[in-house]
């Protein structure tokens, strides 16, 4: 499989103090690591693409480490995660699906034994396309306070023959979470769901 060619990396960190209600004692932080890579399958239909997933593992790990570093360096503060991809117009949605395994593997590797599935989304789009990356609790998908999302995008990416890869980590619940459901304190942590 071809080598991963990286054009650009972007790190975005949001720190949310309030959203019109009481100011949070500990602000919520959301961080995104974005990487713009060349799409080796752009412009043609290629049947065998799955081998590229393994090639993406080192980049995934680098992005997951950069996210933890951007959040202060301690993986224990990470409570939510998500991932996504935007495929440039000369590629297909299936190329974005190549990110599921390496993106998920990288975050689990860095965060210890996170049990929940990593929420994800993907689309085909042009430069500047925005992607709402879904976020859920790292150990129990049903924790309602941690259902969240982070909008990401880069003005000049993805070009037609590129893929924009995204990983997102968050440090807590929505800043004024108050619609009930399973709480983080009630997680059993056996099946990744509750």
């Amino acid at each position: 499989m071809p080598e991963v060619q990286l054009r650009k990396r972007v790190i975005v960190v949001e720190e949310v103090f309030h959203e019109g209600g009481p100011v949070a004692t500990v602000p919520l932080r959301r961080a995104a690591a974005l990487a713009v890579i060349h799409n080796p399958f752009a412009g043609k239909y290629v049947q065998e693409i799955a081998g590229f997933m393994e090639d993406l593992n080192p980049l995934g790990l680098e992005m997951a480490k950069a996210l933890v570093a951007a959040l202060g360096g301690d993986p224990k503060i990470v409570e939510g995660y998500g991932k996504g991809a935007i495929v440039g117009q000369a590629g297909e949605l299936e190329h974005g699906a190549l990110w599921h395994v390496p993106g998920g593997y990288a975050m689990r590797e860095i965060l210890g034994n996170a049990k929940a599935i990593v929420a994800s989304t993907k689309k085909v789009g042009g430069p500047g396309t925005r992607l709402d990356v879904p976020v859920t609790h790292i150990n129990a998908s049903y924790v309602r306070s941690h259902f969240d999302s982070m909008e990401v995008g880069i003005a000049d990416a993805p070009k037609g023959n590129e893929i924009l890869l995204a990983l997102v980590m968050t440090t807590g619940p929505r800043v004024h979470a108050r619609v009930g459901g399973l709480k983080a304190s009630e997680i059993k942590g056996q099946d990744g769901l509750r």
């Binding site: 060619q5 990286l6 650009k8 990396r9 972007v10 975005v12 949310v16």
Partner: protein, 194 residues
Amino acid sequence: MKAKIRKIVTFVEETRTEMGKPVNPPTRRAAAAAVIENPFAGNYVEDLTELMEIGEQLGALLTERAIAALGIPGTSAESYGKAAAVGEDGELEHAAAILHPKLGTPVRKTLGKGAALIPSSKKRGGPGVAVDIPLGHKDAAFVRSHFDGMEIRVNDAPRANEILVAIAVTDSGRPLPRVGGLTKDQIKGEDGLR
């Protein structure tokens, strides 16, 4: 702090290749943005002193956040820029009050020198509006390799009664500059221009 800050977002962009050609060392830009309450939203107020003082505070805070995100001392910064987007219940003059009278002094104090004008832009817009922060060399405005811009967006800001204030700092110019003009090693640094 006079400013009532709802949220702070930082962005770091690192360009590794351009048109397949390596950028060595990679060019890096950072922006730090604060979403603040606009104390004058919805009314015409003659005296904008409060916003000027908020501008002074944000000048220090956001510059520190931007260089921290780049991981460099202030003195290693090469170019800078500033911008504000006012929510729909505010006026463009509110952005001017934040950006122009007092914001620059703490920026220059943090970065050292800064003889050049800090290039700026302002607009009124809704949540998610794209803000193009102009960039220029901090000691000599005519350094052509450092004429640049950085687009940022915060999807949920500015709300109608808010202002998004951003400062961008780089440790480099454009990725592969080759249109001539004054170069950074030719800076005299006396008049802020050359």
